[in-house]
Amino acid sequence: MSRISKVFQSLKAQGEGALVGYVTAGDPEPKLTPIIAEALVKGGVDILELGIPFSDPIADGPTIQAASVRALQAGTTPKMVLEMVGEIKNQRDVPVAILTYYNPVFRMGLDKFFGLAKSSGVDGVIVADLPVEEAADYKEAAETCGVDTIFLAAPSTSAARLQRIVESTSGFLYLVSHFGVTGEQAAMEHSTIQLIQRVLPVTRGRVPLAVGFGISKPEHVKAVIGAGADGAIVGSAFVNIVSRCRSNVHQMLNEIEKTACKLKESAKQHNA
């Protein structure tokens, strides 16, 4: 079993949901990413998700688009992001997943990308624009290196496709909570709960289920974990802190840690 799956499993045994925390690597500058990662983990993030910035992030809302622009302007490259994972792993024993669009991976070459991922200790990879149909070579390269391939499912995914995606995914299944792009939301749509209930019978006993896109507040985390999901993925809420406090790193780290702590508390309390 992969490290990512093990974390989900042991949290479940304790009656907790997992908190997956995302930031765009290299935002606002590459040297801060390991420090930000440390704050996330200290606050209670169970699995780190690091984004490789891409020039044309079509699945992302304004928050992560802006973070990508800052990271690219700071000179962040895919290779640097993979190497950062090594640095993070030296500090903390935390599973790390990389989130990217396909072109940076394609450009580097699958074998080189996964070779570097493996040597840096990357546990899983999520590619926002690579559906299972196009992923045969990618999956093979990842499996050779023992890296999880985390696929996404969405509200528009049919029952037949969902089966196929669940068969292809490893580590966990990334469920997109609603029709739309990434970004903070004031309230969670009720349809998200129904979606989780539709997907759970397919994932149960096979792969952990984590829900992302628009999950930004403790009550959202509580709701998705309460509905039976194994984890909640929070991205834009952290990225917004990075953006807001980028001239005051001390405050940034403080707020990230506090926010992660509150979110994690909600992931624990779902049975209460």
């Binding site: 891409f54 044309d56 688009q65 072109n103 559906p131 149909e133 969405a154 528009s156 496709r161």
Partner: protein, 404 residues
């Protein structure tokens, strides 16, 4: 199954791919929508009533067929092969874009979609979308880069006159590629009600196939017209390539006629070596962008580059996957023309024939001006004049340093 060597080029795409190019590299959330679209299109394509409807609008509304004009003065000036112009500039709206927007808008209506979104660079596709939607009673919303909106104020007003809503795009480089990104973001958010009307042979399958089919009316007409005039096929076809829809529309009915040379002309901008150009096939590398595997202008890390061309319609860092396929097979040859060469061709055709070509089409003319003198007088070239140049008069005056 036929081996790939036996397969006719016109039978592609196979399972959404032209050889290895094309495909569906999109977020999972869009997969159901592009499959629904493919099913709806394949069904419509076979339906005589859909064909009849499209034919009606193409002739009665868009003014097809467009003429194939023998440019005698231009030919004489160049002193080589005869040059014919396929006059897409005479189609409604002043460009070939209407062929595609009518087809897709009819499809959107058939699918029961009430809202149509589109991206636009220079505004030509936005205008053509607004026209087709107005004619068919659909609501059109167009994404346009804030930078492009400044450069093409007139087209913004034109779209609004045609009852379309224009949304400025402030992300990224604020040009065409960013308006496609923004349209895709809209689409994932409003999947059920909304039809995304892409303006070129780009994007995930089925768009490159579908847009090609709608644009191939150009090549089908010119084939018949040329046969009638010359009782044979032309020796060469020349068309400009941004995303590549007028070129594929021109080439497609001739892909399996090896005696016809196919030339696509990309924008070399200020010169390939300057880095300020839009020659994806000429200077790009294979990549995955906007849902397709194709040639892309990108840096060593796989980040998409900004492009440059004096003609906004060619200003795109990717290219239709079928062009990548034809290039790799060496079935078509891809050349470039610089801003300066295009402006020169723009002025030459205006002077010699009284036809002001779009700056995009002027790239094709610039290449034809080099090609014709190398060919015999009994040979013939057809250049697709993809649009008229009224929209470019200001840009050309500016380029020439003339105050108007």
């Amino acid at each position: 199954m036929k081996s790939d060597k036996m397969r006719k080029l016109s039978s592609y795409p196979v399972e959404g791919k032209f050889g290895k190019y094309g495909g569906r590299f999109v977020p999972e959330i869009l997969m159901s929508a592009i499959k629904e679209l493919e099913e709806a299109y394949v069904e419509a394509r076979e339906d005589p009533s859909f064909k009849k409807q499209l034919k009606y609008y193409l002739s009665e509304y868009a003014g097809r067929p467009t003429p194939l004009y023998y440019a005698e003065n231009f030919t004489r000036k160049l002193g080589g092969a005869k040059i014919y112009l396929k006059r897409e500039d005479l189609a409604h709206g002043g460009a070939h874009k209407i062929n595609n927007t009518l087809g897709q808008a009819l499809l959107a209506k058939r699918m029961g979609k009430t809202r149509v979104i589109a991206e636009t660079g220079a505004g030509q596709h936005g205008v053509a979308t607004a026209m087709a939607c107005a004619a068919l009673g659909l609501k059109a919303e167009v994404y346009m880069g804030a930078e492009d909106m400044k450069r093409q104020r007139l087209n913004v007003f034109r779209m609004r006159l045609l009852n379309a809503e224009v949304h400025p795009v402030e992300s990224g480089s604020k040009t065409l590629k960013d308006s496609i990104n923004e349209a895709m973001r809209d689409w994932v958010t409003n999947l059920k009600s909304t039809y995304y009307l892409i303006g070129s042979v780009v994007g995930p399958h089925p768009y490159p196939m579908m847009v090609r089919d709608f644009q191939s009316v150009i090549g089908c007409e010119l084939r018949e017209q040329f046969l009638q005039k010359e009782q044979r096929l032309p020796d060469a076809l020349v068309a400009c390539v941004g995303g590549g829809s007028n070129a594929i529309g021109t080439f497609y009915p001739f892909e399996d006629c090896p005696e016809v040379q196919l030339y696509g002309v990309e924008a070399a901008g200020q010169g390939i070596e300057s880095g300020k150009h839009s020659a994806s096939l000429g200077a790009g590398a294979e990549g995955v962008f906007h849902g397709m595997l194709t040639y892309v202008l990108q840096d060593n890390e796989g980040q998409i580059l900004n492009t440059h061309s004096v003609s906004a319609g060619l200003d795109y860092p990717g290219v239709g996957p079928e062009h990548s396929f034809l290039k790799t097979l060496q079935r078509a040859e891809y050349a470039t023309a610089t801003d300066e060469e295009a402006v020169n061709a723009f002025c030459t055709l205006s002077r010699e024939e009284g036809i002001v070509p779009a700056l995009e089409s002027a790239h094709a003319l610039a290449f034809a001006m080099k090609l014709a003198p190398k060919m015999r007088r009994d040979q013939a070239i057809v250049v697709t004049l993809s649009g008229r140049g009224d929209k470019d008069v200001e840009v050309v005056a500016d380029f020439l340093g003339v105050k108007i």
